[in-house]
């Protein structure tokens, strides 16, 4: 008995040891966090390379406590370092897909943790504006840098600003089965017999850019009823609806489908990886998703938040995003920025009116989701 007892001791010690180590590890991470916080405060009071566009007066660089928190769905690999280098401000990121970001924002409504949201879902962010959650009336200095055709997306209460737009759907076809001539060239052709059971799109209820895609076509067709009729023809032709764009890509790769309405970075990404697909930009226009940035109304880091939006609107920043970003295929909102050389020049984009899209969002998404299971 005694022998057994002695021998259980190492096991106990091990357990206790692993408990303490894991706790320490957890706490260690915690204190790491607070260390960086302290560091960030120091950094906050002394921006290093503030460029002329980020001119903040001494008063503005007051002692805002804590660090700027940005919720975003793309460019998280590079944006924090870029911003730090340009302005000296630190920034903490929460990355997620559209659903995760919006869930968090809504669930936090009683006590928001975010200062800036920057994502390619203008209708949803317009919804936050209608709901009174965004800072209104502030006009950045870089407003003048926004190209004319992007100014129309700025709402009358100045609650968010566009940083670029990308096609949420271009026509993509498998080159092994179709050629540029035999592939569809318009969105209406998706309903033709020859493409039966070959076509697919992402689910507007799950994928962030898929709703702007559907909404733009609904609006172009003239309204809810006409839109339903238009997509009914697709459904009757065997349209497959995948949760997100990457799954559309998988389905194209695996040969489940051979024609899809696919978000443009996903489409060019496939080509860059050597997948045998071709892209067609329809002359009538590709439905587009506008990436916008907005500041939370009661942000405790208002100066840093404004600096972040100014920074996003800066042509140099947008050029850097195109040159180095993961979602690099887009139409920049700032003047004098050039898009990727392999991207279609003069790509025509059509965008649903944010007010209209926000108003009909629930209705369209529900209809689409219910339709897709039938």
């Amino acid at each position: 008995m005694n022998r057994r007892k002695r021998q259980t001791k190492p096991a106990l010690t091990l357990l206790i040891l692993s408990l303490t180590t894991s706790l320490m590890a957890a706490c260690g991470n915690n204190s790491d966090n607070s260390n960086t916080r302290v560091g960030m405060e120091v950094a906050l009071s002394a921006p290093k390379n503030a460029t002329d566009i980020h001119t903040l007066t001494a008063d503005q660089k007051n002692d805002e406590e804590g660090t700027l928190v940005v919720y975003l769905n793309d460019f998280d690999d590079i944006i924090a370092d870029m911003f730090k280098e340009a302005t000296g401000y630190d920034v903490e990121l929460v990355t997620g897909n559209g659903a995760e970001i919006m869930s968090r924002i809504e669930a936090e409504r009683g006590n928001p943790h975010w200062d800036v949201v920057w994502a390619d879902m203008m209708p949803s962010i317009h919804g936050l504006s209608l709901d009174g959650q965004l800072l209104e009336g502030w006009q950045p200095n870089n407003l003048s840098q926004i190209a004319e055709d992007f100014k129309k997306y700025i709402p009358s209460n100045y609650s968010y600003y566009p940083t670029g737009a990308h096609a949420s759907g271009v026509i993509v076809y498998n080159k092994n089965e179709y050629t540029e001539e035999t592939a569809p060239k318009t969105w209406a052709e998706f309903a033709q017999n020859q493409y039966q059971d070959k076509i697919a799109t992402a689910d507007p209820a799950i994928a962030a850019p898929a709703f702007p895609f559907v909404a733009a076509l609904f609006q172009r067709e003239g309204g809810i009823d006409q839109g339903k009729e238009f997509f009914d023809a697709w459904f009757n032709n065997g349209l497959r609806v995948y949760p997100k764009n990457p799954q559309v890509v998988q389905a194209l790769s695996s040969g489940e489908i051979s024609i899809a309405a696919l978000q443009e970075s996903n489409a060019y990404g496939m080509i860059n990886k050597g997948e045998p697909i071709g892209i067609i930009w329809p002359e009538e226009g590709a439905p587009a998703s506008v990436r916008v940035a907005a500041i939370q109304k009661n942000s405790k880091h208002m100066n840093a938040a404004k600096a972040f939006v100014e920074f996003l609107l800066d042509p140099k920043t947008q050029q850097d995003l195109i040159d180095n970003g993961d979602e690099a295929y887009f139409d920049p909102a700032a003047i004098g920025v050039s898009a990727r050389p392999d991207r279609q020049s003069n790509a025509k984009l059509i965008v649903a009116d944010a007010e209209w899209a926000a108003k009909h969002e629930a209705e369209i998404k529900q209809w689409f989701a219910d339709k897709a299971v039938q």
């Binding site: 957890a26 966090n33 869930s103 709703f211 489940e256 996903n266 989701a369 897709a372």
Partner: protein, 560 residues
């Protein structure tokens, strides 16, 4: 009875813990149906009629139907597979038996979306089965309801296996010897003695499979890449991404999930009502598998064949994928690359930091989850606490309710302004991930513990109490040695499962504090399938190594 174990204090303590960790966050979401603005200081009433929508909206109707079909089918099949395997494994020695144990652990900790990715790569119409093996029937066989039930069962059977296997750790041979002496055939002995004695373990395993299947988001959402099969968790996700966000719809669908769990638990309760299964007495001996003789090689062959399917297909496909340049490129020498692993070593520092965080969170959660689960199980098995049934229901709920719902509940609960001055505003801090992870592991630990405790008669504890032993001593000297195997199993299972828990993490991770599953999922969503597979294999490998090491250290002493 003078010897009644007085565990009311313990009962209230466990109730409180479960209330804070599980019930309150869940209620916070469900209450959105009635009072949508309650956490934002608004008093407005919701639309109760939403509860009936499930019988009207095609998507919801279909989701409910699909969830029930999938969960029931998988419960039957997975319990059968897991149970039979566990019986064979516990009864006979055969070569490769240990591989089966390892495979079970592997399947248990690997998240379902990764297993599903592997199955898809294998079965898609241009996948490995068709392309490489020429089996053209595979896509049609897999992508239909029965195919999904089979895949689900092959992924979830470990829950039933572990449950039955731990119940067969001990045996009391005098019962079957007595029966044989009275002339019963060996089949009759099995049917009337052995089988009924492991019934609770079967039922516990079945309950676990049911809950885990009905709450699974990973498999239906990944399979959706080929075959659309919306389930309740899938619809909950789409309700959360309707703008303005419909927490009330997520609440309604979660409510139905809770009802389904309630029904399953009631059935289990009715089935076990009239029986007692505490058969361990002084005559019990550790069950040692008998040599299978000539049958050994047959069992080994069947075992290897089975493992080739359940591990070879899903994990083998991921391994293949991690060495491929493009998925479409198929299995050619041209398409072979080490680039994903090189990239992982060169630029994977974020991933390694994330893995470190996840391991720390999982270890802490496993330890606290083990303590809470053990106390819960003790309460369920040996106390007369009034609200035992309620505790039992609470202890299993997090398995079935999708993590994303629980995560949102956690935001509601732990992000209220008044918590800030008292230092309890936990949302936005790493500790909230630990709390959520503990809530996530409670069902598994509690089930495994109750399964093991069901065999330990209360009279053993009474006897010790009669001799004046304190509660701690009763637990330490009587109970722990008898359930030691299950205790280790539960702790390791809890650890492994929480490293990869994605859903809760994805809504709760603090700024600049990404965890391993969040990063892996992001790379999947960014379509870096090869890189994501490589990361999964490295991460999974490390976790399995840790588990094997711990198991070796902890189990070894049993033999001394």
């Amino acid at each position: 009875m003078i010897m009644k174990l007085k565990n009311n204090k313990l009962g209230w303590l466990v109730s409180l813990v479960l209330f804070i960790l599980v019930l309150f966050p869940l209620l916070a979401v469900i209450i959105q149906v009635v009072l949508p603005g309650v956490f934002f200081g608004q008093l407005k009433f919701g639309n109760i009629g939403l509860l009936l929508e499930i019988f009207k909206r095609p998507l919801w109707q279909k989701s409910l139907e699909n969830s029930i079909v999938l969960a029931c089918g998988a419960t039957l099949l997975a319990t059968f597979i897991g149970g039979v395997l566990a019986i064979f494994r516990s009864s006979w020695q055969f070569p490769t038996a240990r591989l089966l144990d390892a495979a079970v652990w592997l399947l248990f900790i690997i998240p379902s979306f990764i297993l599903a990715q592997g199955w898809i790569m294998f079965s898609a119409s241009k996948g490995i089965a068709v392309h490489l093996l020429g089996w053209k029937w595979v896509p049609n066989a897999v992508f239909q309801p029965i195919g999904l039930i089979v895949i689900m069962s092959l992924s979830k059977f470990p829950l039933a296996y572990l449950s039955v296997r731990s119940a067969m750790e001990w045996k009391v041979e005098q019962l079957s010897h007595a029966a044989r002496l009275c002339g019963a055939t060996s089949f009759r002995v099995w049917r009337t003695i052995n089988a009924p004695l492991i019934l609770p373990a079967f039922l516990a395993g079945a309950a676990l499979v049911f809950m885990d299947t009905i709450g699974d988001f990973g498999l239906p959402s990944s399979i959706a890449a080929i075959y659309r099969y919306p389930t309740l968790p899938y619809s909950i996700f789409s309700a959360l991404y309707t703008s303005p966000i419909r927490f009330d719809m997520a609440g309604v669908l979660s409510f139905y999930l809770v009802i389904l769990i309630g029904i399953a638990m009631t059935l289990q309760f009715i089935a076990m009502r009239r029986s007692r299964f505490d058969f361990l007495s002084g005559n019990a001996i550790p069950a040692v598998p008998r040599p299978a003789g000539k049958l050994g090689w047959l069992l080994a062959t069947v075992n290897l064949f089975f493992l080739a399917i359940v591990i070879g297909i899903p994990i083998g496909s991921s391994v293949l994928m991690s060495f491929m340049q493009t998925q479409g490129g198929g299995l050619n020498a041209d398409n072979f690359t080490f680039a994903n692993y090189i990239a992982l070593l060169n630029e994977g520092s974020e991933l390694l930091i994330g893995l470190g965080r996840s391991l720390a969170i999982a270890a802490t959660a496993a330890i606290f989850g083990l303590i809470i689960g053990l106390l819960t199980a003790f309460l369920l098995m040996y106390s007369q606490f009034k609200f035992k049934r309620a505790i039992e229901a609470l202890s299993i709920i997090t398995l079935a309710v999708p993590g994303v719902v629980l995560g949102i509940g956690y935001i509601f609960v732990w992000n209220q302004r008044w918590l800030e001055p008292i230092g309890l505003l936990l949302y936005g801090k790493p500790i909230i991930l630990i709390l959520a992870a503990i809530a996530g592991v409670i069902p598994v630990v509690t089930r495994l513990m109750t399964g093991a405790m069901a065999k330990v008669p209360q009279s053993l504890l009474y006897a010790a109490q009669l001799q004046g032993d304190s509660m701690q001593r009763r637990l330490r000297v009587v109970l722990f040695p008898l359930i030691r195997g299950a205790l280790i199993a539960a702790g390791l299972a809890a650890f492994g499962a929480s490293v990869f828990d994605l859903a809760v993490n994805s809504v709760l991770f603090p700024p600049n504090y990404m965890t391993f599953p969040v990063i892996v999922n992001k790379t999947f969503e960014d379509m870096q399938f090869g890189y994501a597979s490589a990361a999964t294999i490295i991460g999974g490998g490390i976790v399995v190594l840790i588990i094997l090491l711990l198991e070796l250290l902890l189990r070894r002493k049993e033999q001394l």
